[in-house]
């Protein structure tokens, strides 16, 4: 085997190595459940509608009452992690809260909800509820 042949073998092995490592990193890092069908979407919508219709959601969101909203969500959601994010209409994050069990890589569903204001004062914002496995 001459020098050139050995160099080609090195190159091929090295290329395969990089290829396999790259593919494995990509496959292992893709959060599988986030690309799965969004089964819990309707349930998250129902929770936000129910809390809003009982005047809980707006009062917690606008007063940033994390203990109250987490008390409700702890009881109403399954024992997985969840995260609630509040954005302005130009998508600036106002505040967010993540439960201790929330794992962003294992997100299974999320749902946006629009709030127009509180106690007659217009102050639109977007609430996003995310749950993880």
């Amino acid at each position: 085997m001459n020098k050139k042949g050995i160099t080609i073998v090195y190159d091929v092995i090295f290329a395969f190595l990089i290829l396999f490592i790259g593919v494995s990193i990509i496959v292992l890092c893709i959060p599988y459940y986030s690309i799965e069908s969004n089964r819990e979407f309707q349930s998250l919508d129902n929770i936000l509608i129910w809390l809003d219709s009982n005047r809980i959601l707006a009062s917690c969101i606008y007063s940033k009452d994390i203990s109250k909203i987490s008390y409700f969500l702890d009881n109403l959601l399954p024992n997985n992690g969840y995260c609630i994010k509040v954005y302005s209409l130009d998508w600036n994050l106002i505040w967010s809260y993540s439960s201790p069990l929330f794992n962003e890589k294992n997100t299974i569903s999320s749902h946006p909800y629009f709030l127009s204001g509180y106690q007659g004062i217009p102050n639109p914002c977007i609430v996003i509820l995310i749950i993880s496995r």
Partner: protein, 131 residues
Amino acid sequence: MDQALEMAIVMSIFIIAFSIVIFTTSVLCSYYINTQFHSIKDSIASIIASIILIQNGISYNSWESWTPLINYSLSGNTYHINVTCFSIKNGELLLLWNKTNGIEINDDMGSSYRFIILDNGNAIKLEVRVR
């Protein structure tokens, strides 16, 4: 001597690369099988949750009189069904009642969750876990 050394180096690199490839492939395969398995169990749990939902709809009376069945015989799995009814009064969350089929599963392989708003303003949290 030089050629023998080069061959030895090439062979050792090849063996190391081959081992890494085999290891990576086995990890990928096990990961894929595991996610597929969880996905199937999730689907089974979702089917059970849908059946319960179809049985009761959004009627409070229907949910209140409903008894969780133990014998959902679907591909020999074990199911944990938990139904909780909530109400909100004066800004406080009230737990009205809770029904379970009595089977406890600690290490579930699939689960499904539904939240339903009932016709009288109360809400139902339905959890189905499968092993």
